[in-house]
């Protein structure tokens, strides 16, 4: 992992995201150049905000199908038993872990917000957007510095 700097680098995003996927799913996420086209449905976006020397948002964006798969595998339940609360809980923890570990690469002190989970259409890329494929699904992690501190290196 890279040394502490005032920015978040793509390699750090890849390394942290792969570790989180291994912890939650037992699968490694592989980085890829871009995601497959969306079938028109909204996606789920889980975000946390880092505040400190570097401030900005870390977001995880994925399809409802992958979110359901995550919840199903973590809670060991059948797909019909997966509820919205469980899905949001899982996605919030994913964002919390990725954001928390990226925060650890920044100078102290930094603070991490509680995670937020919303449904949203696929948007334009942030300063740093990295796509991943896990099994037959894909997702992306994006990092966006606040307007006065756009210190993200891609």
């Amino acid at each position: 992992m890279s040394e502490i700097s005032h920015s978040i680098e793509r390699d750090s995003v890849i390394e942290v995201t792969r570790a989180v996927c291994e912890c939650l799913l037992g699968d490694l996420a592989e980085p890829c150049s871009q995601r497959r086209p969306l079938d028109g449905t909204d996606e789920l976006v889980a975000s946390v905000t880092i505040t400190g020397v570097w401030s900005g948002d870390v977001s995880v964006r994925l399809s409802p199908a992958l979110a359901t798969r995550l919840a199903r595998e973590i809670f060991e339940i059948d797909p019909t038993s997966v509820d919205e609360v469980g899905v949001r809980d899982v996605l919030g923890e994913v964002a919390n872990m990725i954001g928390g570990n990226l925060k650890a690469l920044l100078p102290e002190p930094s603070r991490l917000s509680l995670p937020r989970v919303v449904r949203a259409p696929r948007g334009v890329g942030s300063e740093l957007t990295q796509a991943f494929v896990v099994g037959s699904d894909d997702f992306e992690v994006s990092v966006k510095g606040s307007s006065d501190q756009p210190m993200v290196r891609s």
């Binding site: 912890c23 939650l24 060991e76 469980g86 923890e93 919390n96 872990m97 570990n101 650890a104 930094s110």
Partner: protein, 123 residues
Amino acid sequence: MSHALVVDDSRAMRAILGKQLKQLGYEVLEAEHGEQALERIASATERPVLALVDWNMPRMNGIEFIKAVRSRPELDPMRVLMVTTETELSQVRIALEAGANEYMMKPFTAEALLSKLGTMGLP
């Protein structure tokens, strides 16, 4: 079978940690925050030998819970492992000074958890 307590407001983390502890042979109790964890300990038929504790939780956070545990001599034998995304050295120090025996960063592997339990003298 030894009892272990998982204290985390995330249902997903409770499920993941609970699954790993069961594979290691523990009977697992769960709580969503520190207050509920103290209630679980009070009502348990057998006192947990281990607590895995998140930091940021509503009502009573992990540090407050650990301090409450360490203020009760009858709970001295319980090993406490803080499992959190709070990674700053100053925070690790706060957790250890509050009475945590070990500190583990999320995400973690099953091997890392096993290693931490070994460090605390647990199977």
